[in-house]
Symmetry: C2
Subunit: 67 residues, 2 copies
């Protein structure tokens, strides 16, 4: 499975486990909501600094977020 798909699934799973909408999570991660939506569709190829920004509010490491 492509690393973008693994990231997409992990972000969605962990975000939902927190009970956050995409908008709430975007606010926590300080990232635009449409960017979160794109990530969860596997439609982005983010840099590792962005992955770290996503990982922080989800309580995991950047590495864990890539599965």
């Amino acid at each position: 499975m492509d690393v973008r798909t693994r990231l997409a699934r992990n972000v969605r799973r962990l975000r939902e486990a927190k009970g956050w909408s995409q908008e709430a999570f975007a606010h926590e991660a300080d990232i635009h909501r449409t960017y979160v939506s794109d990530i969860e569709r596997g439609a982005r190829n983010p840099t590792i600094l962005i992955v770290e920004k996503l990982a922080l509010p989800l309580g995991v490491t950047a590495g864990e977020l890539l599965g």
Copy 2:
């Protein structure tokens, strides 16, 4: 520790464990040698598809490479 620094250390450690020079590893990963050198100095912020390209010849996942 910054995710770029963790990536840098992991790439260097795993590359050296394979007995590869930066040039040999660059060839295996199909990435330019100077890019490998930059990665190992923590001077790059690669995308996750690049991290996957680096991880493959090292026998680890992209996630493991971010530590």
